[in-house]
Assembly symmetry: C2
Amino acid sequence: MTQAMNKIEQDDRPLDNGLRQFMGYTLKRAYLTLRADMILSIEPLGLRTRTFSALSVVAENPDITQTQLACALNIERSGVVVLVDELQRAGLITRNKVPGDRRSYALRATTKGMATWKDAEARVLAHERQMLAGLTTEEQENLKVLLRRIGAGA
Amino acid sequence: MTQAMNKIEQDDRPLDNGLRQFMGYTLKRAYLTLRADMILSIEPLGLRTRTFSALSVVAENPDITQTQLACALNIERSGVVVLVDELQRAGLITRNKVPGDRRSYALRATTKGMATWKDAEARVLAHERQMLAGLTTEEQENLKVLLRRIGAGA
DNA sequence: TATTGTTATACTCTATAACTATA
DNA sequence: TATAGTTATAGAGTATAACAATA
């Protein structure tokens, strides 16, 4: 109360005023906002962001290996093991023998896995539609294009 | 090798093709790219993203309390304790007595803290300039505006 | 020797709950 | 009683290193 409180209240600038100038901070806020919503949209399917992403890649790339999946998801192979374990336990994907190489697995989404992926895809798209309702379709596309150009060099 | 590999190589679509349609995925990729670079830019100052943000808020809001800082950073009060401990140990901020309320602290950046904040601010701005070099100034501003409108409703 | 998948381990970030000292 | 700060603990998420089986 008193001193500190009064000082803050008299101040018309937000507390994070110094941070708002940064693209990184703005990006993080938007990311966390969208992420919190996305988690709720796929929770009913027993999926989390990581398993959602992994299921998507396996569903769209039949017979992908765990190492390739790790590469696609930008995570370590050790992390993929846990994800694949979880998806397999849920009956959404299978680890299949590869004829030519007995070291690796060919991952495939099961029928249930494909259905779950399509359901999850629709749910996330619906929630993004809601979260991005304040932007026109053109603005949404423009936003995606601009985001993809970050770090891409001049 | 063989089957899976061939299938992937023949495919002209990226492995994460199914994910690229989502704003959340696009946002996350951009965020992580920028974040990785940002971490390197403030590492020489002994700062990490969390302490950078906390130092910024304290520097710009003298006599702020820990609870207010938690609110500004969107984290719990328990998390603030660790951040303030770290910044205090580094001699960048101080915990000061509040005359009217013996429960709370009035946080202030030290002279060294203010200098460090200004230095960090300049470094991050320089690195963002580099990471966003592919975008015009108008595009960068437009990007920030669009990001701030996410989740803001129709 | 190199690679695939695996396990064990640890670190970061964050949250929850219970505690203390004040109010 | 409610609030500020604190502590302990736990949970994601991710990374590193060492290992066995296979190439």
